[in-house]
C-alpha cells in the first residue's frame, strides 16, 4: 500500500519546490518594459470575470501543450497566477519540469491582487459560439482571441464583386471580418459564373451586391454587409471609402483605379491591389505615404486601344481565385498588423509557367499625387484623363460587365 498524502501536505511540499512572489513585487516587475511573461492559468469562466492586464490566458489543463508557443525562451522570467495561488503553485512546478528556469507563482492569486488594489480589467472575449467558429484562428498565436476580436471590429471595402472580389468576399466572411462593404453597380450575368464564385445560377440578373450579400450571410450571418450600388465618382469616392480599414481593389478599369488611388491617399487607407489578364496576375499593397502608390508605378494610364480588358482578352477562370485570395491574405494581415505586407513589392503570378516573380517598386519623388500633402490632392475626372468616353469604349453594356 502506498502511503496516503493529504492534499494539504502535497501542496505544502510543492510550494517548497517553487518560488512565490507577493502582489507588490509582481506589480513592480510587471511595470517594467519588457516585463516578465504573465500567465493566467484559471478556467475560461473565471478569466472572463476579470484578469490582470497583459496576462496570457492558458487554462491549467492546456499549460503543457501551449506554453512553448507563448513563451519561447525557457530562461525568460514568468509569473503565473490563478485565483488564490494554489493551482499556480502546481503550474509553476510543471513549468520548472519543462525546463523553464525563472518561474514564480503569484501568492494570493488574482483575489489577493484585487484586494490589494492593483489594476485589473474585464476582458472582451468571444462568446462560446464565436470561440468555436473561429477556434482555428484562436489557436494561432499571431491571431489568437485578441486578433479575432480585432477582425470582428474591422471594416473592409471591396471594389467590385467580380472575379477578384469573389474569393475576397467569401474568405473575409469566413474569417469573421465584421463589416464588408461592396461597391458594384452591375447585375450577375451568366458569363460571370466561369470565375465569379460568389454568384450562382439562380441569382443571374440580380444586382451583384445583393448576390454577394446572400453568399456572405450563407457563410457567416454575423457579418454586416454594406452595399454601395453605385459607380465611384470624384464626388462620392471619399464618402464611400471613409471609415474602412482596408480596401481590396478588384476593378476592371483605369478610371476607378486612379480615382481610388488618389482618394485612398487622402483618406489614409491602404489599398490591396490585384489585376488579372488571361493567365497572369499581380498583387501589391499601396500603403499611403509608406510605399509607392499606383501613380508612382504608372503615372499615366495607357490609351484604350493599347489596354484590352478581360472582356476583350479573356481570363482563365481560376486565375482570379489565386490572385483574389492573395489579396485577401494581405488584407487580413493588414487588419491584424502581422507579417510583411507587399508594400513596395509587386508579386506577379504566371499560371502557365506556375511561377511567382517579385518586382521591387519605389516611391517616385515626382509622383503627381503622393509627392503632395493629402490636402493638396484634387480628384480629377479620370474618364477624360484615361481618354475613355464614358466607361466603355466600343463595348456593349453586356461586355462591360464581364471582367
Amino acid at each position: 500500500m502506498k502511503p496516503v498524502v493529504s492534499a494539504r501536505d502535497h501542496l505544502a511540499a510543492v510550494k517548497q519546490q517553487i518560488r512565490e512572489e507577493t502582489a507588490h513585487d509582481a506589480a513592480q516587475r510587471l511595470a517594467a518594459k519588457p516585463g516578465p511573461a504573465l500567465i493566467d492559468v484559471r478556467e475560461r469562466d473565471e478569466f472572463e470575470q476579470g484578469f490582470i492586464p497583459g496576462a496570457i490566458h492558458i487554462p491549467r489543463g492546456n499549460l503543457e501543450t501551449r506554453i512553448e508557443r507563448n513563451v519561447l525562451d525557457h530562461d525568460a522570467p514568468v509569473i503565473i497566477y490563478c485565483a488564490t495561488g494554489t493551482r499556480s503553485a502546481y503550474a509553476a512546478k510543471t513549468l520548472a519540469e519543462l525546463g523553464y528556469t525563472d518561474v514564480v507563482s503569484l501568492a494570493g492569486g488574482f483575489s489577493g491582487w484585487k484586494e490589494n488594489g492593483y489594476e485589473w480589467k474585464v476582458p472582451r472575449t468571444l462568446d462560446a459560439q464565436q470561440f468555436e467558429r473561429y477556434s482555428r484562428h484562436v489557436l494561432i498565436p499571431e491571431v489568437g482571441e485578441e486578433g479575432q476580436l480585432r477582425l470582428l471590429d474591422s471594416r473592409v471595402l471591396l471594389i467590385g464583386a467580380g472575379g477578384l472580389g469573389s474569393p475576397a468576399a467569401l474568405y473575409l466572411a469566413a474569417a469573421g471580418v465584421g463589416t464588408i462593404g461592396i461597391i458594384d453597380a452591375d447585375v450577375v450575368d451568366v458569363s460571370n459564373l466561369q470565375r465569379q464564385i460568389v454568384h450562382t445560377v439562380d441569382r443571374v440578373g440580380m444586382p451583384k451586391v445583393d448576390s454577394a450579400e446572400i453568399a456572405i450571410h450563407g457563410i457567416n450571418p454575423d457579418v454586416t454587409v454594406v452595399k454601395h450600388d453605385v459607380r465611384l465618382t470624384s464626388e462620392n469616392v471619399l464618402d464611400v471609402i471613409t471609415g474602412y480599414d482596408v480596401i481590396v481593389d478588384g476593378t476592371d478599369n483605369f478610371p476607378t483605379r486612379y480615382l481610388l488611388n488618389d482618394a485612398s491617399l487622402v483618406a489614409g487607407i491602404p489599398v490591396v491591389h490585384g489585376s488579372i489578364y488571361q493567365f497572369e496576375g499581380s498583387v501589391t499593397v499601396y500603403k499611403p505615404y509608406e510605399g509607392p502608390c499606383y501613380r508612382c508605378q504608372y503615372p499615366e494610364p495607357p490609351p484604350p486601344e493599347l489596354a484590352p480588358s478581360c472582356a476583350e482578352g479573356g481570363v482563365l477562370g481560376v486565375l482570379p481565385g489565386v490572385v483574389g485570395t492573395l489579396q485577401t491574405t494581405e488584407a487580413v494581415k493588414l487588419l491584424l498588423g502581422i507579417g510583411e505586407p507587399l508594400v513596395g513589392r509587386q508579386l506577379r503570378y504566371d499560371a502557365l509557367s506556375m511561377e511567382f516573380v517579385e518586382l521591387k517598386m519605389h516611391r517616385a519623388a515626382d509622383c503627381p499625387v503622393c509627392s503632395k500633402d493629402p490636402d493638396e490632392i484634387e480628384f480629377i475626372d479620370y474618364e477624360q484623363f484615361c481618354a475613355l468616353p464614358g466607361r466603355a469604349v466600343a463595348r456593349t453594356p453586356q461586355e462591360a460587365i464581364a471582367s
Partner: protein, 94 residues
C-alpha cells in the same frame, strides 16, 4: 543575348512567344532591336520622342529601370528583362 519577358497583350505581335531574345548593352538597345524586328510593338513601348511610355514599366533583374538610369540602364548577357504595361483587368466594373 538577353531574354525579354513579353506581357500577354504584346505576345501576338512577337509571334506568340512569352520570351524573346534580344541583343544590346542597354535597355534602349534591347528595345531598339525588338521594335526593329517587331514594329507593331513600338507604339506600346515608346512615345514619339523615343522615351518609355508612362504606362509601361521595364524591369531589369526585378528592378524598375525608371528608378535607375532609365533606358540607359545596362543589361548583361544573363539579365532578365520584364516589360509590363499597366493592366486594369480585375473583377468587375465599379
Amino acid at each position: 543575348m538577353s531574354t525579354v519577358r513579353m506581357p500577354p497583350i504584346l505576345r501576338q505581335a512577337v509571334g506568340g512567344a512569352r520570351e524573346v531574345d534580344a541583343s544590346g548593352g542597354t535597355v534602349r538597345e534591347i528595345l531598339d532591336d525588338l521594335t526593329g524586328r517587331f514594329p507593331a510593338i513600338r507604339s506600346h513601348l515608346l512615345d514619339d520622342g523615343g522615351d518609355l511610355n508612362r504606362f509601361v514599366n521595364v524591369y531589369v533583374n526585378n528592378e524598375d529601370v525608371r528608378l535607375g538610369r532609365g533606358l540607359d540602364t545596362t543589361v548583361g548577357p544573363d539579365s532578365t528583362i520584364i516589360v509590363l504595361p499597366a493592366m486594369a483587368g480585375g473583377g468587375s466594373p465599379a
